[in-house]
Symmetry: C2
Subunit: 203 residues, 2 copies
């Protein structure tokens, strides 16, 4: 369990509660998910849940974190930055397509639009270290002369991951492997007929 | 009112209902917004609302559409595709920053993650014609040799708008003018040190 809560707790009960929350969320939807239902499904009292988690979204976030694999959070460094981002993004995107993670992650992103505390928790526990690892990989490629050194690495993270999230959340089309590869290639290659031309002329 | 409902209705009441929904949503948040509260605020009966709209999200979507200006939906064509996308995206992004539209749009995107009917309505009424206009502008630039003709225009739409939505929905940072300009420049110029190099070698 990747939970960082300091309280000692019965790990078997904690796992049962997270499992119950994930299963119930899939069955009834995030809106109708309640602590009472989770407690009943997990065979524990509501107070047990409230002792360890402040809200249903916190339980689901634990579930999402425990479902992520190291391939989804680690950045390969083979020396070929384009290939490395293809590998990482394809692995990370499993979270957006797997039935045991995709609906929960979409629900949490949706709920975070109305809940600043949840938005902060998702950033702190789920996203900030992934973004930091991507930025590190980009900086390394900049030092090696593979990526223009005048660009902010954080902007490049937005360019690489933004189209994937946009396709998923706004267009409701889960990212496929080939589409990810084309996206990464196009970000790295540029869409202008000649990037030198675009930089000096049309830009 | 851009509503496309066929029923004849009292436009003054309809406007009051939409206004009440927008105001209340801002005051109490999307989750706590209810048809009863909207009816009370607008001084109409609940049945009047249900005759014209199936849900609170449908009312908010009408409000969002009526708040959008033609600068946000029209695509300029000055001959300079990079400048035109900067102009359009800066105008469109007002929806993501104005206090009378940003929270409602974020709430609707959030709710659409759990509501396929709402997701379809947002696509049909709000997004599909904006995307079609962007695709037309890109095709025109491709015919003029300003954009590589081997790229799918829809992919370029994702590359241009995806980073903006990702920054807004996932990183919770509303897009500023300068950041939009850099994003558009970078998409058009490419992030690799040399795009020809990236295409033949590193990609």
């Amino acid at each position: 369990m990747p939970s960082r809560r300091p309280e000692r707790r019965n790990e078997e009960s904690a796992k049962a509660i997270v499992r119950a929350a994930l299963d119930l969320c899939r069955e009834v939807g995030y809106d109708k998910l309640g602590i009472e239902g989770i407690a009943a499904r997990a065979g524990v009292g509501k107070n047990t849940i409230y002792r360890w988690w402040p809200s249903k979204s916190a339980i689901l976030l634990d579930g999402l974190l425990s479902a992520m694999t190291s391939a989804q959070s680690d950045f390969p460094d083979t020396g070929d930055v384009v290939a490395d981002f293809k590998t990482q993004i394809v692995a990370a995107c499993e979270t957006l397509t797997r039935p045991d993670t995709a609906p929960h992650y979409a629900a949490l992103i949706g709920a975070a639009q109305q809940d600043a505390e949840l938005a902060n928790a998702m950033w702190e526990r789920l996203l900030s270290h992934l973004v930091a690892a991507a930025v590190d990989r980009i900086r390394h490629a900049q030092r090696q002369g593979q990526i223009r050194s005048d660009l902010d690495p954080d902007l490049i993270v937005e360019l690489l991951y933004g189209p994937i999230y946009y396709g998923w959340l706004i267009r409701h089309s889960p990212p496929g492997r080939e589409h990810i590869h084309t996206t990464v290639d196009t970000v790295f290659a540029g869409v202008a007929a000649s990037s030198a031309e675009a930089r000096s002329g049309n830009g």
